[in-house]
């Protein structure tokens, strides 16, 4: 399957590498080419420099054929905008969006976006670690 | 000395400022106006009637009047509603053509750091007239 990952931070690069290993056709987007250093040497996917909230950049990255779009930049709002472009304009079947702010995350989930809040998940994991 | 404006918050620090203003006014033939600003939260309209806050304000003002009477002085009091005290005090100083603002300040720490609050710095920065601040002494627990 074709997957586009927006944001090549630690999480984005890790996810890109996983999907690549599983044999998916992966495109990683980031505005900073320096961030592609996080991709492993063996990465067979395509790094693309550009802003994922720009339709032209998304088209160039092949969003029209993508089945998966994941927004994991550092900016909650940028993720929200890009994810909504992917979902509503390009009708990508599977769109996942990271939102740090739990309140915003809840709201967008209620609006039908598939969202992840690492803030809550992280705090829960730490809480659990304290129990053992 | 013309008009002296004393903004009060209903704390102990008010007393010193009122006494000082009254003494000064008596000696120079000035007038003292005491002002209490109810800061209305933005979730409510500015003219919302918040009984609890109004009571607190009226209490602070009557306390001020009582203190002034003890000093043998009669002062004007005013209760105002605004979003923030600082700009309201400065506006009032403009409107009344005040010559001096005397403010009492508690010694207050926030997160372990001494804090001047928002109002005093705003007044210092923007008041058209002279400003005197009377800071209370540290309390015992603040000392340590």
């Amino acid at each position: 399957m074709k997957a586009i990952i927006m944001g090549c931070g630690r999480v984005g690069a890790q996810l890109a590498a996983m999907l690549d290993t599983e044999g998916h056709d992966v495109v990683v987007l980031d505005i900073d080419p320096h961030s592609f250093r996080r991709l492993p040497q063996t990465f067979k996917g395509t790094p693309v420099v550009g802003n994922g909230t720009d339709e032209d950049v998304l088209r160039h990255a092949g969003i029209e054929e993508a089945q998966i779009f994941v927004a994991v930049t550092q900016g909650d709002n940028r993720n929200v905008l890009a994810a909504q472009i992917a979902k509503h304009i390009f009708k990508v079947p599977r769109v996942v969006c990271r939102i740090y702010d739990p309140i915003r995350e809840q709201m967008y989930r209620a609006l039908g976006l598939q969202t992840i809040s690492p803030t809550i998940a992280g705090a829960q994991m730490l809480r659990k670690a304290l129990e053992t | 000395m013309g008009k002296i404006l004393v903004p009060v918050r209903g704390t102990r620090a008010d007393d010193e400022a009122i006494k000082l203003a009254c003494t000064l006014a008596k000696r120079t033939g000035g007038e003292v106006g005491v002002l209490y600003v109810i800061e209305v939260k933005r979730s409510l309209p500015l003219d919302a009637e918040i009984d609890e806050e109004i009571q607190k304000g009226e209490m602070a003002l009557s306390q001020a009047a009582m203190l002034a009477a003890k000093e043998g002085y009669e002062l004007e009091t005013e209760l105002l509603q605004a979003r923030e005290a600082g700009p309201a005090i400065v506006d009032e100083a403009h409107e009344r053509d005040a010559e001096l603002i005397v403010m009492g300040l508690d010694y207050k720490k926030i997160f372990g750091e001494y804090s001047l609050g928002d109002t005093a710095p705003y007044v210092l920065r923007n008041a058209p007239c002279r400003v005197w601040l009377c800071r209370e002494a540290m309390t015992v627990e603040n000392h340590h």
Binding site: T53, E55, N77, M107, A110 | S43, G86, P87
Partner: protein
């Protein structure tokens, strides 16, 4: 009416100022403490420091009783999110967003922003209105005295339906390329018949531009 303005830059500041002059209740949410202070000193108690996309800030400033939220920060994504949070969490009846990338306007509307304003689009509209409807578009100047221009033939053009050799072109002008409705470039011959919406690339003397335009566009 109660207006909440997200973003206290030049746009937010001047918008707030005008609304206040109209006697409206205004609150400007701005992240930069210095900008906030400036607004308060110039416009009074109408600025709150905070993130206008955050539900907590919006709750504190009474967004639930706001009539309009206007998001005019410099970032499209922030403006979108502020409007969406206002609309879906606080049921603000009207949301207005500034949009820098004009192509995002339809998406913003689809996602529930009532009004979008794109200065890019506004400027473009004004430019297009200020231009004649079928101008010669200058492409290139050659040797300082020749112009390479593009022109799209309007239906009213006197050239439509005529062969190239029948045209009254000014002296020293050549039509060197024709792109028809099929978007294929053709080098026209003297017998090529011109049609409405054909795009031509022509070379002409700088002095003859007006005559060329009259011959091809009829303006």
């Amino acid at each position: 009416m109660y207006f909440i303005v997200v973003g206290g830059g030049a746009v937010g500041y001047n918008l707030g100022k005008s609304l206040l002059k109209d006697g409206q209740e205004v609150l400007i949410i701005e992240q930069d403490p210095q900008a906030c202070q400036r607004i308060t000193e110039e416009l009074g108690s109408v600025a709150v420091r905070g993130d206008g996309c955050e539900a907590k800030t919006l709750e504190e400033v009474g967004t639930a009783r706001a009539d309009v939220l206007v998001a005019v920060t410099g970032d499209d994504e922030d403006n979108l999110v502020a409007c969406q949070v206002a609309r879906h969490k606080f049921k603000v009846p009207k949301t207005i967003a500034r949009v820098k990338n004009p192509r995002l306007e339809p998406l913003f509307k689809l996602l529930g922003v009532d009004i979008t304003v794109s200065s890019t689009n506004l400027i473009l509209t004004h430019i297009q209105q200020g231009l004649p409807s079928h101008p010669l578009m200058p492409l290139l100047t050659l040797k300082g005295c020749l112009e390479v221009v593009e022109v799209c033939l309007p239906a009213v053009s006197p050239a439509v339906g005529k062969r190239l050799k029948e045209l009254a072109l000014p002296a020293g002008s050549v039509i060197c390329l024709l792109v028809g409705k099929d978007n294929l470039p053709v080098v026209p011959t003297k017998d090529t018949v011109l049609q409405a919406e054909d795009c031509l690339v022509a070379v002409t003397q700088t002095d003859s531009l007006v005559q060329l335009q009259a011959a091809l566009a009829g303006l």
